[in-house]
Subunit: 186 residues, 2 copies
Amino acid sequence: MLRRAVELFNRQGYDATSMGDLARELGLSKSAIYHHVDSKEQLLSAALDEALDELTAAVEQAVDPASTDPASTRLEDVVHRSVRILVTHRPAVTLLLRVRGNSEVELAALRRRRKLDEDLAGLVAEAAEEGAVRSDIAPELTSRLLFGLVNSLVEWYRPDGPVDVDTLARSIAVLAFDGLRVPPAG
Amino acid sequence: MLRRAVELFNRQGYDATSMGDLARELGLSKSAIYHHVDSKEQLLSAALDEALDELTAAVEQAVDPASTDPASTRLEDVVHRSVRILVTHRPAVTLLLRVRGNSEVELAALRRRRKLDEDLAGLVAEAAEEGAVRSDIAPELTSRLLFGLVNSLVEWYRPDGPVDVDTLARSIAVLAFDGLRVPPAG
């Protein structure tokens, strides 16, 4: 039910979706829906937690102070892992990325997102201090662009399309870390 | 009025916004609104055309067969120009990027977007054939990622923030074409 609810929210917008719409989508009566969930907001909250719990686990591992890997390696790893999370939890992540802060549940999700953004910007700064990642772009901007690139895949990627998730993750990492340009020979 | 309408559509969703909401937002009566526009869809159509006309002009210049510039140069140019269009026309482009095809106006906009995507993928393929852009990622995927990166800036970029548009355009091009990695010395 959560998955179907999230797909409906993504298709017609969370605010524009009523519990009546959801009941029709599921072929249930409204009272049957309310037997399972208290409110539309409870479904929103569960979906946002699904996305945020996965992303938080990935970012916490990447910024773990006990890690002995260089920051640049942990940054590449978290890019790969984020791509996999976005593909596996695409409906929930799509909903998360569209949250605008219209309720306390949404504001709480935005606070958790902001913490992830700060941790990732800190990791980029650490990788730049190591000299492994370019420092002529500010770490906050690099982080915005890098995870903007990752997040953009929810807009077009389909797991049943021609690009498998390994190719997708590798291509995003190659574009971001190595760039598209082939240096002139000579 | 178009600008304020588009900002309201982006804030609360086009489908969830009524002409009554728009009248309240503008401090006008509904009849005053209808004196200027026939329908909500007319405002949507005008905003989508604003975004699409600008993007189409940029892409048509980039794929102009009469151009003597290499495809890779034209690709970098259209990235820079797209960033500027997204910043200058951010509300209209944001609305365009959220269109899901719920009406004939939206379907027509999606058809125009698809033509732009195809032209850009063709330009990437041409740059790869020249040997100037890497060919180990399929041109369609490269194009999706590159313009996904560009489009993602509508989610966070604010013209009154710390990053000016020149820095933004240059940073996106550097990330995409040169990559973030600093090669190990030696």
